[in-house]
Structures are given as structure tokens and as C-alpha cells.
Symmetry: C2
Amino acid sequence: MTSEDGVRATFVEGMGGIGEFWGIGKAMGQIWATLYLSQDPMTMDDLVREVGITKGHASTNLRALLRLGLVSKSFRPGDRKDYYTPQADLWAFARSVLRERQQQEFDVALASTSRSLQQLEASRAGLPAAEYRFLKARLDAVRDFHGTIDRAVNALLRLEDLHQAAVRLTSRRRSN
Amino acid sequence: MTSEDGVRATFVEGMGGIGEFWGIGKAMGQIWATLYLSQDPMTMDDLVREVGITKGHASTNLRALLRLGLVSKSFRPGDRKDYYTPQADLWAFARSVLRERQQQEFDVALASTSRSLQQLEASRAGLPAAEYRFLKARLDAVRDFHGTIDRAVNALLRLEDLHQAAVRLTSRRRSN
DNA sequence: CGGAGTGTTTAGAATGTCCTAAACGTTCGA
DNA sequence: TCGAACGTTTAGGACATTCTAAACACTCCG
């Protein structure tokens, strides 16, 4: 029980909240935060002790973190334990999370809108012309909107240095 | 039961998913979608019928939608019903949702990180110098990161035409 | 072999969120 | 004043999610 424990506890708790908020779960946030404030790689047992979750839960969440590239695993000769290291580059971290969310969003949104448009065309004959035009215009607007967002996010994700883009965006040059 | 019902059902269901995904809830997404595909303002009873939720639930979610500016309310002389109209400008819609999330995120993230930093300073005397420097560096990195993101999002929110920014971002001019 | 050390899987408990049903309050017109 | 129309609030049920506990599988070493 050293004197910096409060520091870690506060930060870990906060990252738990952020993890929930961004849809990656409280435990994942807490695990990542714990690793992030550790000078050395940690084992699953270390995490079980420090985060206060069970081994099984740690296992599941570590696997998810590995899949997202938010944590990496390493080994030591003559030691059967796995050692975990956090992705400490916060911009890479953000890119991973954003990429994941983008993927999910894209699936559901694109599917429903384009399917609606197909159905609209299919039933065009049975509709009043004004109704058809109205629905077409609205659904097209959604599709265009989504397409633009999607391209913008992908452009962001392709930037090797997201940080630079953010700084540039912040510097309020009026470009017109 | 006209032939375009499938169109609406598909889209409404999809927006329900998107609402969940963005943390505003399924019902809010569905209600907004229903209004968006209606040529005329709708009453709460209309929505109860079309979306298939109860009056109470509709009431709660409509209030939330109003608060976020995603829906607006109007009246007709000699008619006690409230009439609801969707925010049909999708860029304004996105701005509202983004603003809301930004607010929440900022609260939790800033609070935990800066509190951690305070605690770190408070317990500085009892810490090995190397440990102090390590924690300070990591927490500072988080705070800087968060500050940059926060400024970037606020810059986006201030743009009167978010669409233009997205289009510009997409057009991949190498600016260095 | 057998047993200790490590990580994974799973059944179910705990928790939180969403939604309904119904009571309630208010306003308006007969 | 009464009752109908409309919207709000609330108690609780249904559901999904998250987490625990414990069984399980694998590997290595004595």
C-alpha cells in the first residue's frame, strides 16, 4: 500500500468509464489503464490482483484488447506466463477504437438505408408520385450523408499521424 | 397497409440500431426515423401507433429528442395535441449528437485525469523520483491528448457547415 | 505418471437498461 | 362540475450485459 495508489485508482476508474462510454467495456478500459501506469509488462495474475477482476474475465478482456491492438503480449524465456504491454501511443489507441466503431456503424447503417432504397424502387409503381419523390429524397440524403462521413473517417484513419490532423484542424485557419 | 410500409419499417429499424450505437437509445432513433419519413408533423398518438411503443415511453423519448434539438414541437390553433417535426438537416443532427457525447466524455475524462495528477503531486514526496517521473509523463500525455481532441471537436462543432469540413477532409490534398 | 502452474470456457448470478402498464395531473368543452 | 383528451410520472417486469466461480484443458517438470 504505497502512497501513489490513489493516483492509479483514480485513473483506472476513470478509464473504466471511458471504456464503457466508447463501447469497449469497463473492464477493458481498466485493464488498459493499469498497464499504462505500470513501468513493466504485467502478467494476468498481476492484473487480476490490481484491477480486482477474476482470471476468466481478465482472460476474455485481454483477448479483446489484443484483437483491437490496444495491448500486446510478450514472453520470457523459461517463463510460462504471458506478459502484457499497453499500446501507449494514444493516437494509435484512438485510431484502433475509431476503426472498430466505424466498422460496426457502417454495417448497420449502410445495410438499412440501401435496403430501404431498394424496397422503395420495388414498390414505386404502387405509390403516389409525390410520396415516392419525398421518400427518395430523404433516403438519398441519408445515404449521401453516410457516404460522406464514411469517407471522412476513412481519410482520418489513413493518416499515419492522426495527431497532426487534429492539431491542424484546431489552428482555425479560415480556408475560404 | 400500403406498399411502402416495408421501406419505412426497414429504415426505422436501422435507425433504432444507430440510436443504440450512438448511445441515444433505440426508441429515440426509431422515433426520429419515423418522423423523418413522414411528410407531415406527427402527434404522439401517431408515433405510438407507428413505432409500436407505449405512450409513456414515447413521452420520455420525445422530451429527450427535444432537449437534444433532434425534434421540434409545434401547435395548431384549436388543437390540444402537440405536433412533432424532425430535425431533417443531417449535419445539424450529427452536430447535436456529437456535442452531447463530447460533453459527457469531457466530464468523466477530464475529471479523472486531472484528479490523478493532483494526487500525484500530493504524494510526490513519498515516491521514488523515477516512479514520479514515469507517472507524470504518462498522465501528462493523457491530458494533452484529451485537450487536443477536445479542441478539435469543439472546432468542428463551431463550424457552421460541418458538411464542408467533411468534404474538404475527404479531398486528400497533401498539405505539407 | 502425477501434480503444479497457466490460461480458457461456461453456467449462472448480479447489475443495469429499456419498455410497459397504469395511475396521475391538467386542460378544455359540454 | 363532470368527463374526455392529452401528456407525464412511476412501479415493476423483461431483457441484455457484465462479472464471478468453478470446471476444464494444456504444458512442463519432479
